[in-house]
């Protein structure tokens, strides 16, 4: 599977990563290489084989519904570039 310039530009935008125009071609080549390397897996016949989700047979653990965490707003906003009255404060986003 080959990735073109436009696709690289699009996924960069979706991931909010700034990619300069001049890097698009090189990245398209790199990503295409990675994808075609992984694509070798499709040479295997996996008909009737369920996808493996874990290397050991474990079940998804479930916890009891109890309040065991939270209650430390100062810690939560400690790294905020800006915080006001206990809220994170970010440049206005409004519809």
């Amino acid at each position: 599977m080959a990735v073109d310039r436009a696709t690289v530009a699009r996924i960069a935008k979706l991931a909010r990563i700034r990619v300069p125009e001049r890097d698009l071609d090189a990245l398209a080549g790199e990503l295409s290489n990675i994808l075609s390397w992984i694509e070798q897996l499709s040479e295997l016949d996996t008909e009737g084989v369920a996808p493996m989700t874990s290397v050991v047979a474990v079940e998804l653990p479930r916890r009891a519904d109890a309040v065991t965490d939270g209650g430390y707003p100062d810690k939560v906003i400690a790294n905020a570039p800006e915080a006001v009255h206990g809220f994170f404060a970010v440049p206005k986003v409004i519809e």
């Binding site: 998804l60 065991t68 939270g70 006001v84 009255h85 809220f87």
Partner: protein, 487 residues
């Protein structure tokens, strides 16, 4: 879809039919969040109910809340839906300030609940079945406050990570009334189950409206999605506005653009959301931190056996047990508390009379006072006491309304008020005969009219006798005695 009752819009070029599907986000009742042990209570101080998982600190791992799973299964079973014994949590990727992870953990290709059905109770007393497409679990986002500062948005993550059930209907609704009935019924079921409190004001129940227009019976048109419409009334307004807007676009030779819109409650209009202009690509993929969720069929059966009586079953039972009309029964079962109150009053009494008093006097007094049924000064036992006094002839229906008001004011039982104020109905034949004789003697002209065949004048006589007795005379006896004495 033959049923277009109320949903047809007459355009310049002919009729158009609405096709509506709803996505409802219901906040699950529980102590803690879907993947963290932080609390879920409404109205706490900002960011005080946030764990490092909810704040998306690096290296934190989500651990699934078993109660949330049970609540979703319970809801699925009540919607007559297929429970998928294997479901998968996926990451839905997008950026927004109130979504610290940069993705929402949701379910996509394999939701926990598949297809089901819900029966709507329509205002004309008929019912209509609407399909449920799916129900899946997902994390709620945080809350953005845009109106606190001129250039900043404030973010509170208390809501971030609370369990939501997204319940998606099939595009089976054809009018704003049907959409309203759908939300009302879904809300009622969720409240009976105790899986969501249904509080639309606090945002525990939120609705997105998918709507397209077509010529009656034609293929589906292009739809728009109107987001976060937060009351049943707004859902109706948004649908009516959006349907007319689309008809105008189509009749002017244009094309409806598939887009996300917002309902502006102040102006009563929908408008395109700027941020969503670029088609979203959520790049879903299975969350590598979470294994597939596998349910034990016996555990699902245990939940099924534990389901409470639901509104439809209760409605059918009220119709059978108390000979109520489907409409009356529908009104009474919409809220579980109302149905409990009703059954307590109606048991062993005149069921229709009990229904009338509850939906008439009690609902009226609640509306006037702004109280909830649970706080009413007249509880089921007291209302029952009042109805007993009507049934055994102690008071007339008219006096009963006065007694009810006194009960509402004072909280006293009906019998005490009747005794204190001497309101007992006069059922003593002799006493009534005396009053009747007096009234006839005072009105010889009217008595003559009755004898010459004017039956209508009897009503006037009844009124006079009731007035003379301060409303306390037994109306049945008054009628009989008047007829005797006049002829």
């Amino acid at each position: 879809m033959a049923d277009t009752n109320g949903g047809l819009i007459q355009g310049k070029t002919g009729p158009w039919e609405m096709v509506i599907g709803l996505e409802v986000h219901a906040q699950v009742i529980g102590e803690s969040k879907l993947f963290s042990g932080a609390a879920t209570a409404f109205g706490a101080a900002p960011n005080s109910q946030v764990s490092l998982v909810d704040a998306a600190m690096p290296g934190m791992l989500p651990v699934l809340n078993g109660h949330s799973v049970a609540q979703a299964v319970k809801t699925g079973l009540a919607l007559n839906a297929k429970i998928n014994l294997t479901s998968v949590f996926e990451r839905k990727n997008y950026f927004y300030p109130d979504l610290p992870q940069g993705y929402q953990i949701s379910q996509y290709l394999q939701p926990i609940v598949g297809e089901g059905t819900i029966e709507l109770d329509l205002p004309d007393g008929s019912t209509k079945e609407v399909g449920i497409e799916r129900l899946h679990m997902e994390q709620d986002a945080g809350k953005s406050l845009h109106d606190q500062h001129p250039t900043m948005t404030y973010i509170d993550l208390n809501r971030s990570g609370i369990t939501l059930m997204e319940i998606v209907s099939k595009p089976d609704m054809g009018s704003a009334e049907e959409a309203a009935a759908y939300i009302a019924k879904l809300r009622s079921i969720l409240r009976y189950l105790g899986t969501c409190d249904g509080n639309m004001e606090e945002g525990s129940l939120r609705c997105d409206v998918n709507l397209s227009m077509r010529r009656p019976g034609a293929a589906l048109g292009t739809r728009t999605e109107t987001k976060n419409v937060n009351s049943i009334r707004f859902v109706k307004l948004a649908i009516e506005y959006e349907a007319r807007r689309q008809v105008q676009v189509l009749e002017d030779g244009g094309k409806v653009v598939q887009e996300t819109r917002l309902f502006d409650a102040d102006k009563g209009v929908t408008r395109a959301m700027r941020s969503k202009e670029e088609a979203h690509d959520y790049r879903y993929f299975p969350d590598p931190d979470l294994l597939p969720l596998v349910l034990d069929p016996d555990w699902v059966e245990d939940i099924r056996r534990g389901l409470p009586e639901l509104p439809d079953a209760r409605k059918a039972r009220l119709v059978d047990d108390f000979a109520l009309s489907p409409y009356d029964a529908g009104v009474l079962v919409a809220e579980r508390e109302t149905a409990d109150f009703y059954e307590a009053v109606a048991k062993g009494r005149d069921a229709k009379l009990a229904a009338n008093w509850l939906t008439g006097e009690v609902f009226g007094a609640l509306n006037r006072s702004g109280m909830a049924l649970a706080e009413a000064p007249v509880d089921a036992k007291k209302l029952g006491g009042l109805i007993d006094l009507i049934a055994d002839g102690t008071i007339s229906g008219r006096i009963a309304k006065e007694v009810f008001e006194a009960m509402w004011e004072s909280g006293k039982p009906a019998a005490a008020i009747v005794a204190d104020q001497g309101l007992e109905q006069i059922s003593d034949t002799g006493a009534i005969e005396a009053i009747v004789a007096q009234v006839i003697a005072d009105s010889p002209g009217q008595a003559e009219q009755f004898k010459s065949g004017n039956e209508k004048i009897l009503g006037w006589f009844v009124g006079q006798v009731m007035k003379a007795s301060q409303g306390k005379a037994n109306p049945g006896l008054v009628n009989r005695i008047l007829r005797d004495k006049l002829s």
